[in-house]
Amino acid sequence: MSITVYSAKKIITINPGKPTATHVAVRDGRILGVGTLGDLEPWGEYRLDETFADKIIMPGLIEGHAHTMEGTLWRYVYCGYFDRVDPDGKTWDGLKTIDAVIARLKEADEKLSDPDAPLPGWQLDPIYMNNERVSRHQLDQVSSTRPIGILHASGHIMNVNSRALELAGLLKTGINHPGIPLGEDGLPTGELKSPEVMTPVGPHVGFDRAMTDADERGLRDFAKLCVRTGVTTITDLASRLTDESVAMMLRVTGEDNFPACIVPLRFFMGQTPKELVENVSALKKQSTERLRLGRIKVVADGSIQGFSARLRWPGYHNGAPNGLWYVTPEQISEIFNLALEAGIQVHIHTNGDQATELVLDRLGPALQSQPNPDHRFTLQHCQLADSAQFRRMRNQGMCVNLFANHHFYWGDEHYRLTVGPERAERMNACRTALDNDVPMAIHSDAPVTPLGPLFTAWCAVNRITASGRVQGESEKINVDEALRAITIGAAYTLHMDDEVGSIEVGKRADFAILGDDPTQVGVDGLKDIEVWGTVQGGRIFSKADL
């Protein structure tokens, strides 16, 4: 059994017992010891690897809420407002005007030889362009022969051209649907404003019905993004986990050079709670070193900016009616009871504070009938929770994964429109969570916002919105706390803190290799830290070699 000792400029362990070190010894893909070279020498013969001698080593970063579909989306045209790096390392400039979006689509159009082939794009967000709506006529400038569809950053709106509407049978007058705005000519403008109206058009513009799942190439590309952002463990938070997709994920993650551990959660859909828990219990047994199955995701409500999240009084700031439930309270109770009994963990999407309240109301009785002191059921997003709700989370043993990135990208919108200043300032209340001892992670929800835990940490530390305002000074956390949230904090929410999340003996040799020290660059510099690559299970992945 050969031992490799890596030297580093500094090792940040996230282990309070030995916060920093200079060397880490690895054997069999696991951490044998961390300290000075002298501390490690007694383990026996070793090979000293100085690849990281001028680098900072952190525990491999953990993203507790992302979707592997981002890997697939990168094969479509990137239409986002912000600069974003693709799996191959190319930075795509953010597009600041609709004209720039049209120009990029034209470039892509010219590269396609088949005039009828669909042209899908993604990540459009008119919020940053004075909410200017895109019309089908604008997209018709790109092509009138091929169907074109651009998915918005929210994932809940799509703009399509006339050809796409025609193929879907929607280029007609007389449509009366809240999700389909009409132009002065009585025909649809080409904006499709909810998932159910996107479905009839999606397949025509190149978006598959099962688009929440990555395909094989998409999964490999997604893993490249992980290496580029220092991530070694990542969730696929709403996976359908069909037999075929599980087989594909097992095969791909099992490849010698696959660089990340993927944790897919089975989305509650199309099954009864009983079938769900049985299904997930069976899946759990198929888990491997790099594919961790056996967790459930339940979506309780919608999104705040889509006005489909469930809010408590006084509801939406602009007077919009309350949002939608995606499951019944009875189903939540049934899933909780069965999952607690089976020892299966449940993560619950709650955006609005009423949805959070409902989950808290339903977990208490379930825990009384199925006591499970270490359940770690986790509220995902949980963006509007107030301090009383965080105290209930603590008392019931819940974890939370807050959407720090959202605060940057949509914080201004929430302040101005959806929930108003007071609640916008307490959104994603990291400080309150930590002060009330609620185990906490922070997330990107990639592809909704870009994957990058150090950026996510920057968001939670600075609470700056896209317009540059600090929103909710009192909910800021410090750098050390943010670094814990993106390592051991996220690991805890996945019941994986025994094997990843810190650099200490016995844990998997998962490292993020950084160019700068996140504890020394200042709060502004966190997001700009250069990531060299990762070590996952003792295997080195340099982003330069991807």
């Binding site: 449509i175 649907h177 019905r209 199309g270 009864t272 079938e275 939608l324």
Partner: protein, 304 residues
């Protein structure tokens, strides 16, 4: 005669958990009377379909005695409908059993976008014993009042569980919650299938004209040729005839064949290309269906 040119009728069944949606679906399947129903459900629960009705069961489709099927759609209703529309032989009628928190009006909105489908009514079930309490629940109360408001046919179910005084109060309250809906009282979802699905006019599919039971009466009329079908539909839906449901083929003043469809006070007229005999079947509460006035309105005599 082929049915292919006629939009596929879709009945949406809504209502909160425990209101009797599944019981109603089983009742419809049991009394399909030759009609090939396709039932769409969110998922196959343990008690989705009565065991004795099931012929073959696979992961997402159940074949039922008499040529009916039941399919689960997960969260993608649109795709499931598109698939059903392509199925051969095409089902005669689709019934959507929506989830306990679905807003049925939103389902009908979606339906309106799909070629070849026509909403045949929103039927919402209310559990007499719990609907008022549920409508005041801090979490699901507004969802339930939205469901009730969308109802065209409102079935007040489980009436065996409430007393007479309570029932009157309940009925008055429900009619405020669901203005324009026709309220049908029921126990164990025992409601004539025609009130839920509308009459059947295709020859060989069921027997028009014989829809009488204790609660309902029906009549088939042959309207005179050359009427304004929209005006006729509006009149039947809003006039004092006691029509709960009506459905029929009528030749309009241009000689075009139209399909007329009425549920409660709402009506819809669509073009059909096939040549079928003019006939309208009207269903109403016994004692309230004014057959004489209907005959006069339609300019036809009562056959038989």
């Amino acid at each position: 005669m082929t049915n292919l040119e006629i939009p596929l009728p879709v009945t949406t069944i809504g209502g909160y958990l425990g209101s009797g949606k599944t019981t109603l679906v089983n009742h419809l399947l049991r009394n399909a009377n030759g009609l090939h129903l396709a039932v769409l459900v969110n998922e196959f629960g343990e008690l989705a379909i009565d065991e004795d009705l099931i012929e073959v069961k696979s992961d997402d489709i159940i074949s039922i005695a008499g040529g009916c099927i039941c399919c689960s759609f997960g969260n993608d209703l649109t795709s499931a409908l598109i698939d059903l529309g392509k199925m051969t032989p095409r089902p005669d009628h689709i019934v959507i059993e929506s989830s306990g928190v679905s807003i049925p009006g939103a389902i009908v909105n979606t339906l309106s976008l799909l070629e070849g489908f026509q909403s045949n009514g929103i039927v919402v079930l209310a559990d007499a014993d719990s609907v008022m309490a549920n409508a005041n629940d801090k979490y699901v109360g507004d969802t339930i009042t939205r469901q009730l408001a969308d109802a065209e046919i409102l079935i007040l179910n489980k009436l065996d569980l409430v007393g007479v005084t309570e029932r009157t109060g309940l009925e008055n309250w429900l009619l405020e919650m669901a203005p324009g809906a026709v309220l049908i009282p029921a126990k164990h979802c025992q409601v004539t299938p025609d009130a839920v699905l509308g009459g059947v006019l295709s020859p060989g599919k069921g027997s028009p004209g014989n829809h009488a039971d204790e609660l309902f009466d029906s009549i088939v009329l042959e309207p005179v040729v050359g009427v304004n079908v929209e005006n006729l539909a509006r009149e039947l839906a809003s006039g004092p005839y006691g029509v709960v449901r009506a459905k029929g083929f009528v030749a309009d003043h241009d000689g075009k064949r139209k399909l007329l469809h009425i549920v409660a006070n709402r009506w819809h007229v669509s073009d059909v290309s096939n040549d079928v005999a003019s006939a309208i079947i009207c269903l109403g509460f016994r004692g309230q269906l004014d057959k004489k006035a209907l005959g006069k309105c339609l300019g036809s005599t009562i056959p038989g």
